[in-house]
Symmetry: C2
Subunit: 178 residues, 2 copies
Amino acid sequence: SMGYGLAWSYYYGYLKLILPGLADRVKTSTFWDASNQRIAPKLFILLPTSCFAHPTLTDGDSAVQPGAHLREFKANRSGNPQRVYRNFVYKVTSEDGQDYYCVAEYATPLLTLFEMEEDTLADLSKEEKLKQRAIFKSTLLDILTRPGVKECQDACVLLDVDDAPNSATSLSQLLLQA
Amino acid sequence: SMGYGLAWSYYYGYLKLILPGLADRVKTSTFWDASNQRIAPKLFILLPTSCFAHPTLTDGDSAVQPGAHLREFKANRSGNPQRVYRNFVYKVTSEDGQDYYCVAEYATPLLTLFEMEEDTLADLSKEEKLKQRAIFKSTLLDILTRPGVKECQDACVLLDVDDAPNSATSLSQLLLQA
Ligand SMILES: Nc1nc(=O)c2ncn([C@@H]3O[C@@H]4COP(=O)(O)O[C@H]5[C@@H](O)[C@H](n6cnc7c(N)ncnc76)O[C@@H]5COP(=O)(O)O[C@@H]3[C@@H]4O)c2[nH]1
């Protein structure tokens, strides 16, 4: 199924490559000391319930402020020498005025499901999209929790984002609580 | 099915983004004048029959020599601001000593199918891998040949690569003939 393949693609083509060295890139960034280590050495992966991913998190919630990119990770992959992978640090401010930083982004494969639902040529109904989203998430959890991938499992957090219009939780609140 | 989802992901998450501006990035590169325009303003997408993609094309055939990267394309995508996409130019020399250049790479989603087949947790036999490869290719052709995507269709070429051990055609020959 689609969600199954997208989860494996996300693991082999991305998480397996970038997660092992992520904590080191966080701890050697300017954010580590500047924030008194108020930045988790992990990737927060956002899973919107609608599968719609904004271009930046700030577009999704202006209270999630842009920070800066972490150091790049490069690898030869599939005919592309020194392909560039890099993550971005966002800043959220708690109610008592404390700044927190986090490495976060949406799970890009979900955006594909959203775009397919909108495309008349792709054969994807809203129900099927939500079903494939669930398969994507459960497959990813299976991959990340099996023996032997601890360096990936500890290095990322999957967060559901309820983006229904009447949703009670904003992106910034979700990140502050995570 | 997996191949169907990977094809749509490859289109919406990559080809739709990078192909429209590719010809311009080729024609404004140093290769355009340096090679007397012996470089096609297109992306050659290699589809190995085994789905195995070498890290670089040179690893697949030492007669395919490294050139250099084209100018980067950046876009805000799915929470990653200014995500970097860039392609690479390779050089092949014909029998009469003429140098030709081409922008080429393997189709990244196929490597995922190969890695899944090797992974005991992923449920993918060799037969199923080949079936999903065929679905990936036919779906991609359907997407690229429908009305309204001419800027993508003219900007890439899909090339099957027979990488069986007894294969008669090398990667360099394939690229010279393309
Ligand atoms: N050759 C090539 N160069 C690229 O820059 C590139 N970017 C994407 N792709 C391929 O297009 C398709 C759609 O990409 P998407 O971003 O939705 O999924 C991506 C995305 O969710 C994640 N990922 C990969 N690279 C990055 C990255 N640099 N930043 C964030 N996420 C990434 O992992 C998935 C699989 O990646 P690949 O397995 O490399 O192949 C992708 C995929 O088949 C590329 N292919």
